[in-house]
């Protein structure tokens, strides 16, 4: 009898404790929702910048706990896709504009139209327009920051070569690059990165921004436009620049990151890259006398627009909370400081920036007065398309085909690719 009582007592106690823990747990989780933010930004910001931003968010939104998951940029696209497949992608996703069409087609993103239309803290009209584009009738990513592709120049090397002002036309670029090339010292005027190594994105960094200043586009009516005269003209210029000896050797294996490293080390005097790398150059070589200037033009001032984008995973179980974080990050009072911490321009153009760095100021000037172009958001199979372009450009730089044939071959292969993407 005693044994039976003991058993009943143990059972009841266990039930009471379990119930208590369950209710307590429910209450605790009900108070705080944890969301994951997968991104690559944090290491590119000023030291402790991301922590400061998140601390402010946690103060304003104590009901949401943000867990930061930092992944190297080169692995990010693959990580988002594989995580989506297994249903474990983060809630808020750091995104790159060229991934837009691919991820939408892969059902990895949540459409943001309804969130934007019901947003109370931001006015969607204030967001940088070039990187807000509708695909399949919906907006899928919004710009946390926006920035142009610009030229990075080494002011000291320019001065040594007797160059007072940065080049503003293609012809001037070739002339100055040649002047600053001293192969015996391992110094070159310009660098192009066309490596096959992932992300193998040489064309979109070294070719597209030049093409836009010639008034050209890579895609027209959802088909390849690579056989256009502007593309051929751009390729001819880059081939000529390389043949002149002004370009650092090894372009077929040079990664864009290596290009920035070489520039930071003073081996290369001018490179084309995005504004986000200003911080990288400052960190790598604080003594380097950096000057940022617009991409030299052929016909018009234009630049390739880019940005750190944000989206919500289609697999997220906390979409509302994910949007709360995104909307908060886009509010002018947060977006401004965030941009300053990442040395970029705000994705919300209503945010005010206290710009003291002339190199950032020139980027802002470009953003407001030159033509910003972003084609890749709507390009189907964008990463595959620029890989094809890399292969054809490598052949061109290796003298296996001329620029006209390069444009023709790439054009044909792109149309085949777009046809399969359908």
């Amino acid at each position: 009898m005693n044994f039976k009582r003991i058993c009943i007592f143990i059972l009841l106690t266990t039930m009471v404790i379990s119930l208590g823990l369950f209710v307590g747990g429910q209450a605790a989780t009900g108070q705080k929702t944890t969301i994951e933010w997968m991104q690559w930004y944090a290491p590119h910001m000023k030291k402790g910048g991301m922590d400061r931003i998140l601390d402010s968010f946690h103060v304003e939104h104590p009901e949401i706990q943000v867990e930061l998951v930092t992944i190297p940029f080169g692995k990010m696209r693959e990580q988002i896709l594989t995580s989506t497949i297994v249903g474990k992608a983060g809630d808020v996703l750091g995104l790159n504009p060229p991934w837009n069409a691919g991820f939408v087609d892969a059902n990895a993103l949540e459409p943001l139209g309804s969130y934007l239309s019901s947003a109370r803290e931001i006015n969607p009209e204030d967001l940088a327009h070039a990187v807000i584009q509708e695909y399949k009738g919906q907006v899928w990513m919004v710009p946390l920051t926006a920035f142009p592709f610009v030229m990075f120049g080494n002011k000291d090397r320019m001065r040594e070569a007797g160059i007072g002002t940065p080049p503003s036309t293609w012809e001037e670029l070739k002339e100055v690059a040649l002047k600053m090339t001293i192969p015996e010292k391992g110094q070159y005027g310009y660098a192009i990165g066309m490596s096959s190594l992932p992300p193998s994105n040489g064309p979109i960094i070294d070719v597209y921004p030049m093409l836009y200043t010639a008034g050209g586009r890579t895609v027209k009516n959802e088909m390849s436009n690579l056989d256009s005269p502007e593309v051929v003209e751009t390729l001819k210029f880059l081939k000529g620049l390389n043949d002149s000896g002004a370009v650092a050797p090894g372009l077929n294996t040079m990664l864009q990151t290596q290009k920035v490293e070489r520039f930071s080390a003073g081996e290369v005097a001018i490179i084309l890259n995005n504004q986000a790398n200003i911080e990288t150059v400052y960190l790598r070589n604080p003594d380097l006398n950096l000057v940022v200037f617009p991409v030299p033009k052929k016909k018009k001032w234009a630049y390739r627009m880019h940005g750190w984008m944000l989206g919500i995973s289609s697999k997220s179980k906390h979409k509302k909370e994910a949007w709360t974080l995104i909307e908060w990050l886009l509010t002018p009072q947060v977006n401004g400081p965030f941009s300053e911490l990442s040395r970029q321009l705000p994705g919300n153009l209503a945010a005010s920036l206290d710009i003291t760095d002339p190199n950032i100021a020139i980027c802002e000037y470009m953003l407001l007065s030159h033509e910003g172009v972003e084609e890749l958001m709507l390009t189907k199979q964008a990463p595959a398309s620029w890989r094809i372009f890399v292969e054809e450009l490598q052949k061109m730089f290796a003298d296996k085909q001329d620029p006209v044939t390069t444009a023709k071959n790439a054009h044909k292969r792109w149309n085949e690719l777009f046809a399969t993407a359908e």
Binding site: D105, A106, S195, L197, V390
Partner: protein
């Protein structure tokens, strides 16, 4: 019938053996057999994961490869890479093993063994980065060759269409020979010394001893090591991906890098699975020969 047989076996030997192999079988099923079956299943659809309704297409993905130029280029490159890598792994491995088998000072032998095994210890990422830096057009190897007057302009070892594959094979040889070397060294140490003494008494010179005494005794090891190395090299991915990415153009594209690109650049998971299945078939053929060779006579 089966149950009766099982019951009889259980009576005679008990079911204990099944419990012993149970965990291993479970792990093998989860980690090997299930993914393999999934890959084959995926290969039979138009696409998977990224489409809402995958359509069964049977063997279409496999048939499409027969008309795919990149597939044939990748297969050709895979064969070239495997044949040359394995051949030189064996040559270099045997050469170093014979040198390390000499009656030298013990400290010197330990030192050389440690140094020569180093390439095998490094991960593919470290090897790739090291050789990228060494063979950079503005890197140390070009600098030395330039100083020696052997180069007039920097050479793009990994970026040149003609040189990329030989350079990649060279790196693969550097990384892969220690496995062969260690296996052969173990074999050499098992050859009785009196066979060498008998050969010497018969008047055989060093080369004849190597050809007629050493090599025949190493034959079983050489075959095993050669087949294993072929299997590993044929499906090698990290070293190639991290060194050249399959470029320039498709100069170093192999089946494994092409599979990866189909899956993660183009999101064509079914085509990638079909190619993965083709690689699996090749590897199974090599494995069959390996197991046949391992079978006790």
């Amino acid at each position: 019938m089966v149950l009766r047989k099982f019951a009889t076996m259980s009576k005679s030997r008990g079911i204990a053996p099944y419990f012993y192999i149970g965990p291993v079988m479970a792990i093998l099923t989860i980690l090997m057999i299930y993914p393999m079956c999934m890959i084959i299943k995926l290969a039979l659809y138009n696409n998977y994961y990224v489409v809402s309704k995958p359509v069964w297409v049977g063997l279409k993905n496999f048939i499409d490869f027969s008309r795919n130029e990149i597939f044939w280029v990748s297969l050709k490159n895979t064969v070239i890479f495997t044949v040359f890598s394995v051949f030189f792994h064996m040559i270099v491995g045997i050469a170093f093993a014979v040198l390390l088998n000499q009656p030298l000072n013990e400290i010197a032998l330990t030192f050389f063994r440690s140094i020569l095994i180093l390439p095998w210890i490094f991960t593919a990422a470290i090897v790739a980065i090291n050789w990228q830096l060494l063979l950079d057009p503005l890197g140390i190897i070009n600098f030395i060759l330039g100083k020696l007057g052997m180069l007039t302009s920097p050479v793009e070892w990994f970026g040149d269409y003609f040189l990329a594959m030989p350079t990649l094979i060279f790196v693969s040889i550097w990384r892969g020979y220690p496995f062969v070397m260690i296996s052969i060294l173990a074999g050499l140490q098992g050859i009785p010394i009196n066979t060498y003494e008998a050969a010497k008494i018969d008047g055989a010179d060093a080369w004849q001893i190597f050809c007629y005494v050493t090599l025949p005794q190493l034959k079983p090891i050489l075959l095993s090591v050669g087949l294993l190395d072929t299997i590993w090299t044929f499906r090698l991915f990290p070293l190639i991906w991290l060194t050249t990415g399959g470029g320039p153009g498709r100069a170093t594209e192999v089946l494994s890098t092409y599979t990866y690109k189909l899956a993660f650049v183009r999101f064509e998971f079914s085509k990638a699975s079909a190619l993965g299945t083709i690689i699996l078939i090749f590897v199974m053929v090599f494995t069959f020969f390996y197991l046949k060779h391992q079978k006790p006579v």
